[in-house]
């Protein structure tokens, strides 16, 4: 039963990873940007909630109303300014700029909020859970996060496939010059994609804050986990990302069940194994020629 519980917790954790990976996957798929500040942005989102609403320690639901929209604006503006500019100088510049931003965000948070860790609560919901069997606990909060993750993935997928702006984003991803020729305002559309990605990052940061303690330096690990979920799942496929998140979550919880210090390492090892055996991931969107 302990193992069944580990599997269930792993799948629930996978939802959180998928939520993290969604923004990373979107930015890379559409803009070709690897955002090395991804994890730090999530943590920044959580700290914005801490700073603006001291009461988030009692209920984080309020933060959901304003942090993701705020980050959407932030994403739009940064894409129109710093990120857009760096993209025109090539992928190396983008990497270096986002890495520089990551260092800045981490240390600014350290300076502003000290190294103390925080976490969010959702009132009574934080600790409430279902107990279908003796050793199995299904936290409502964690199930809620999984549901939110699936919803976000569905909404992003529908947004990309069904809406006009989504079509323009996909056109941009396929061929930005051709998209520009047919009248797509590429800079605006790229910034919309960044806005969506940033909003999901903020959401992921808030979700993480309810899951575990976070501190200014939590971002690095989150970036690596999100990235591993994307690679395990397969590049460019949002459903693959969900699968990848679940595989990583399973590896971590089962690893932790074997030995509490082995969890994160087990996740990394599964990632390396996938890389060695199936470098295109479990569910690649496209088959390489």
């Amino acid at each position: 039963m302990i193992w069944v519980n580990a599997v269930i917790q792993g799948l629930l954790l996978g939802g959180l990873f998928a939520l993290f990976a969604c923004g990373l996957s979107l930015l890379f798929g559409v803009l070709g940007i690897i955002n090395l500040a991804h994890g730090d942005l999530a943590v920044l989102g959580a700290y914005v909630a801490v700073a603006l609403l001291p009461s988030v320690h009692t209920n984080v639901l309020w933060a959901l109303l304003f942090v993701p929209p705020l980050f959407a604006v932030f994403g739009y503006v940064s894409q129109r300014t710093v990120m857009g500019r760096s993209m025109r100088s090539g992928p190396l510049t983008t990497l270096l700029v986002t890495f520089g931003l990551s260092v800045v965000i981490q240390n600014a948070l350290l300076e502003g909020f000290s190294a103390d860790s925080h976490s969010f609560t959702l009132g009574a919901l934080t600790t409430r859970s279902l107990h279908p069997a003796s050793d199995i606990s299904l936290s409502w909060l964690r199930m809620g996060i999984l549901v939110v993750a699936v919803l976000v993935l569905v909404v992003v997928q529908l947004f990309l496939s069904r809406t006009g702006i989504g079509r323009q984003i996909r056109a941009l991803a396929d061929d930005d010059e051709a998209a520009a020729i047919t009248g797509v305002n590429t800079r605006h559309v790229a910034a919309i994609a960044a806005a969506v990605a940033f909003a999901t990052v903020a959401l992921a940061g808030l979700a993480f804050g309810t899951y575990a303690q976070f501190s200014p330096t939590s971002g690095s690990n989150l970036l690596i986990f999100a990235f591993e979920a994307v690679i395990i799942g397969g590049l460019g496929s949002l459903w693959g990302t969900l699968a990848g998140g679940c595989v990583l979550g399973l590896a971590q919880t089962i690893g932790a069940q074997i030995d509490p210090t082995f969890g994160v390492l087990a996740g990394h090892l599964v990632f390396l194994a996938v890389l060695a055996v199936r470098p295109n991931g479990l569910m690649p969107a496209t088959v390489e020629a």
């Binding site: 940007i33 090395l36 100088s89 510049t93 270096l96 890495f99 990551s102 690095s220 994160v264 890389l275």
Partner: protein
């Protein structure tokens, strides 16, 4: 980059047969590089003599300078020439430090263990390269980072190596502190000089030519038959050896090895910063960058996080507005201390 135009035409010419085209010669050195040889040797001699002039504090500081310099130079060759933007070179820094620790625990002299540790890192880099070379661009960056995390997590599982809290480096009790300080300094200096010479010679070799060709235009390079994969792997192994040696010196100079310190991602930040500010894709850049970074570190380190915020901001600004770094500004005036390219000298210019 000014050498680009001449490089393709000259690539197949061996310097030994320069006179096939009448009166045109291929020159590999520049006036500034020839003028710089004597001062460079003097600087080297002064640096080598430093332990006799200054107290141990100064040489200890200089050891950190050389470690940073080696990391900057190897990362520069990786990212600036081979296009391998690694955020995980601290894997080899840590592996080098822990190899020295392990060898010392087995009774080997830590200083003698340095070259062994460096070579070990090169060997470890072979299987690592199989994995991470499957990733491109930014995914390579995060993949190398994940590998560094794996190295750290595996290392702290060993209680003999100090677990997560670290342990002291044994085997140095036989040295008196002053001698040990001087020996560590010379080891660090030697590694820095070897890294510089090694990068210079490698970039002038066939491998370097292939890399610069691929960096400047990969399609054109593949069109004329350059295969970048092998060259990139060579660079990756050499960079791992350099980082491993730096890690070994770090362990000896700190007399202590701790996983969070030697495997920390802040090292990647330092390497990137040093290279960015000095000028990526030039051999001179990391030297300038290390000097600037070091001055910043010495003056601002007491301000804690503010110093790293400033470092990050400068990196962003440099990447966006001055991608060729400080040395890029110098190169505009035609200064080359380490010319790795080929330039065609027309007869009328050759007197100059």
């Amino acid at each position: 980059m000014t050498e680009m135009a001449t490089r393709e035409g000259a690539a197949d010419e061996s310097p030994a047969a320069p006179s096939q085209v009448s009166g045109v010669r291929i020159r590999r050195s520049t006036r500034s590089s020839r003028l710089a040889i004597a001062p460079a040797l003097i600087v080297l001699a002064v640096l080598a003599y430093l332990p006799f002039l200054f107290a141990q504090d100064t040489t200890n500081t200089m050891v950190n300078f050389f470690i940073l310099l080696v990391l900057g130079m190897t990362w520069n060759v990786l990212a600036g020439y081979a296009g391998l933007v690694s955020v995980g070179q601290q894997a080899f820094l840590g592996a080098g430090a822990y190899s020295v620790l392990w060898l010392a625990q087995q009774g080997m002299d830590p200083l003698a263990a340095l070259p062994v540790a460096a070579v070990f890192c090169g060997v470890v880099a072979i299987p690592v390269s199989w994995l991470v070379f499957r990733l491109r661009g930014g995914y390579f960056a995060i993949g190398t980072w994940a590998v560094a995390e794996v190295f750290a997590l595996v290392t702290i599982r060993s209680s003999a190596l100090g677990g997560g809290t670290g342990t002291n480096l044994p085997g140095l009790d036989g040295y008196d502190p002053v001698t040990l300080g001087a020996l560590t300094y010379w080891a660090a200096l030697a590694i820095a000089v070897l890294t510089l010479l090694g990068s210079y010679l490698m970039l002038r070799s066939r491998v370097g030519l292939a890399l610069t060709a691929v960096r400047d235009d990969d399609h054109a390079a593949e069109g004329v038959g350059v295969r970048p994969a092998g060259a990139k792997r060579v660079v990756y192994l050499l960079a791992a050896i350099g980082a491993g040696a730096a890690g070994g010196v770090l362990a000896i100079s700190q007399l202590n090895v701790q996983a969070d310190n030697v495997y920390g991602v802040q090292w990647a930040a330092y390497m990137i910063f040093v290279v960015l500010i000095g000028g990526i894709g030039t051999l001179e850049g990391p030297i300038i960058g290390t000097i600037v970074f070091f001055i910043l570190q010495q003056t601002l380190a007491s301000h804690g996080a503010w110093y790293l915020i400033l470092v990050g901001l400068v990196a962003v600004v440099m990447a966006l507005w001055s991608p060729r770094g400080l040395w890029g500004i110098a190169e505009r005036f035609g200064v080359h201390l380490f010319p790795v390219g080929y330039r065609v000298v027309h007869p009328e210019e050759s007197q100059s």
